[in-house]
């Protein structure tokens, strides 16, 4: 009986005409309208522009340029360009991720243990400072330190009676420099997130371990690190999902258009940018961008699948 009652009720609920629904929600619809229109124009419309990846772009026809099928992709793969920049992008992101997480975790653990409020506040603020400055300033710092003629590094080398070195001829040195700068920029920011995580530690468990004679190293190993692990995994999974997105601003300000360094430092974002601004090869650049977006989306779906499986509350969707 009850099931029949349900059956008769359900259609009545869903059969409210659309116009009535729209009217009932009209104020809400007006309230989301500006944001939705913005996203449609500046995010969804460009997505449709991805068809340029299959076209030979010319300025007269714009989006209506002639189709060339997969020619742009063929060239990207055959020339090896996409392989190189994809490798570099993943390579840097993995190195960045591990160094930054590792150093930041250390900062958060130490700061959570330090009782001296003044010290904690001042030194943590100093670490947060780089987050607030632009990457252009990071570029100025790099110029100041590594510039061949007047850079600090060569100033120091000269004062030690050593030969000055020209880092702009040493592509591999920039792996270290970029990793350092990335950590430099983000250490304060990320440590705040971890420090927030340490406040979730149950103080009773912590005190109990203390009284039971667990020394500081044991407490870090068995209480603090395990309690930060979920947060760490979540952060790393998010970064894994974004592993194909380069930090354009970092790379472009530090490396610029320094051709000799491209082999070791060109990432997808800088490649796409150069295709647009210097080579005017819209088709090729869009193809690389499409590759990045699609591959990136697949990665996010995979990562999300695993988060869903193991830590459902952290899943993105």
């Amino acid at each position: 009986m009850s099931s029949r009652a349900l059956k008769t009720e359900v259609p009545r609920l869903t059969k409210v005409p659309l116009s009535v629904d729209l009217k009932k929600n009209s104020i809400f619809l007006l309230m989301v309208a500006p944001a939705i229109i913005y996203f449609l124009i500046f995010h969804y419309l460009p997505m449709s522009g991805l068809i340029l990846a299959f076209k030979r772009y010319n300025h007269v026809d714009g989006f209506l340029s002639p189709w060339v099928g997969f020619d742009n992709f063929k060239f990207l793969f055959v020339s090896g360009a996409i392989g190189r920049v994809t490798f570099n992008t993943i390579f840097y992101n993995v190195i960045f991720m591990f160094t930054c997480q590792f150093i930041t975790l250390g900062v958060a653990i130490v700061l959570s243990e330090i009782r001296c409020k003044g010290f904690k506040k001042i030194f943590h603020s100093l670490m947060f400072l780089p987050y607030f400055i632009s990457f252009v300033v990071v570029g100025a710092i790099v110029y100041n330190i590594f510039n061949y003629e007047f850079g600090l590094l060569n100033t120091i080398l000269k004062s030690l009676y050593k030969e000055p070195i020209n880092l702009y001829e040493m592509p591999n040195a920039w792996i270290l420099i970029l990793t350092f700068l990335n950590t430099w920029k983000w250490v304060g920011y990320t440590s705040i997130i971890y420090l927030a995580g340490t406040t979730n530690i149950n103080p009773e468990i912590y005190e109990a371990a203390h009284i039971d004679g667990a020394n500081i190293w044991l407490r870090i190993r068995y209480i603090i690190i395990p309690s930060l692990l979920p947060l760490m995994i979540t952060i790393m999974l998010f970064q894994l999902g974004a592993i194909l997105r380069g930090q354009f601003e970092l790379f472009y300000n530090v490396i610029g258009n320094n051709g000799t360094l491209f082999e070791a430092t060109d990432v997808i974002d800088t490649y796409v940018f150069r295709m647009l601004v210097f080579n005017f090869d819209i088709g090729m650049g869009t193809a690389a961008g499409l590759f990045q977006s699609v591959f990136g989306l697949v990665l996010i779906l995979i990562v999300n699948y695993f988060i869903r499986k193991y830590r459902k509350d952290y899943a993105l969707f």
């Binding site: 009932k24 929600n25 104020i27 809400f28 619809l29 007006l30 309230m31 989301v32 500006p34 944001a35 939705i36 996203f39 124009i41 995010h43 460009p46 997505m47 522009g49 991805l50 989006f63 150093i103 130490v110 243990e113 330090i114 010290f119 030194f123 100093l126 670490m127 947060f128 400072l129 607030f132 400055i133 990457f135 252009v136 570029g139 100025a140 710092i141 100041n144 007047f150 600090l152 060569n154 000269k158 430099w184 250490v187 304060g188 997130i193 020394n215 500081i216 354009f248 610029g256 796409v272 940018f273 647009l276 819209i282 650049g285 961008g289 990045q292 977006s293 990136g296 989306l297 969707f317």
Partner: protein, 294 residues
């Protein structure tokens, strides 16, 4: 109070040293730039940049003070873009977030999905560029500096979390008094969400303040350069400092380009460094909430 064991002392020493080293590494580049800007040009050529000026000189700042026009204009552009962009962005985001947080809004999940998808898939740089330049004709317009960064899914969802926590009873009682949803939003939700909106607003303002990429893409006209791109152009072109000084009509026999580069960098950083102590707690709060709830 438990007496400190050897382990605790060892940990403290290692810990303090570790923190001090990292904090110093974060600070030193700033000192380096400040020092370079205060070094006499010939000393830079002779000895290179250093932590302490070999020969102290404020010449670079004196010259920049004589020709402040371009820098002031660049700051002006940045201030206009950052205030208008941030105010607009926070208002539109908050309005959208309130509607999405309200359970009476039937389509809230559909619209949330539309917004969410933009954070996992994008058309990339080039299609957006062509849209902006060819179809919207925004090259050399201040809107080109505002629009590409205007809204983000992340900000809207963070505000939605905050607004979902406003007690329903308050909203209900306003409803009974005859207020419509928009009035409720303006009169009740906004005042209650000020802390959240300030936090989001500061993140957005910093984003605008430090942006140079939109200017690189969409601005050719020197009068519309924001401060960061102005700095970028000064750092990256040998000619721009000379032309900037010459075009102002001030005659300076030998222009100290190397120290001027660093002096402009210092000037560009100053507003951020001055505001930093006052605004950083909002960022800390925003990140903490984001870490726990996001």
């Amino acid at each position: 109070m438990i007496r400190q064991s050897k382990d605790e002392i060892a940990f403290k020493i290692i810990g303090y040293v570790y923190i001090i080293i990292i904090a110093m590494l974060c600070l030193l580049p700033f000192i380096l730039i400040l020092s370079a800007s205060l070094t006499e040009e010939s000393a830079i050529f002779k000895h290179g940049y250093n932590f302490i000026p070999k020969v102290f000189s404020v010449e670079a700042y004196e010259i920049l003070l004589k020709v402040p026009g371009e820098i002031i204009r660049a700051f002006g552009v940045t201030i206009i873009v950052a205030t208008v962009g941030t105010a607009g962005s926070v208002f539109v985001s908050a309005m959208c977030a309130y509607a999405l947080s309200n359970k009476k809004f039937k389509y809230r999940n559909k619209f949330s999905l539309i917004i969410y998808l933009t954070s996992v898939f994008s058309g990339g740089l080039i299609p957006l560029y062509i849209l902006m330049v060819r179809y919207l004709h925004l090259k050399n317009s201040l809107l080109a500096l505002v629009l590409p960064l205007f809204l983000s899914a992340w900000n809207i969802f963070l505000l939605r979390i905050f607004m979902g926590e406003i007690p329903q009873s308050i909203l209900e009682s306003a409803k009974i008094d005859g207020a419509n949803e928009f009035t409720i939003f303006i009169r009740i939700v906004i005042p209650l969400s000020i802390p959240a909106m300030v936090t989001i607003g500061l993140f957005q303002a910093l984003y605008y303040w430090n942006d140079w990429m939109q200017a690189m893409l969409y601005i050719n006209d020197k009068f519309l350069y924001p401060i960061q791109y102005y700095l970028y152009s000064m750092l990256n072109s040998f000619q721009s400092i000379n032309t900037a000084v010459m075009s102002s009509g001030v005659v300076i026999p030998r222009i100290p380009t190397e120290s001027i580069k660093m002096a402009i960098t210092v000037i560009a950083i100053i507003p951020t460094v001055i505001l930093f102590p006052f605004i950083q707690r909002f960022f800390v709060k925003g990140l903490t909430v984001g870490a726990i709830k996001g």
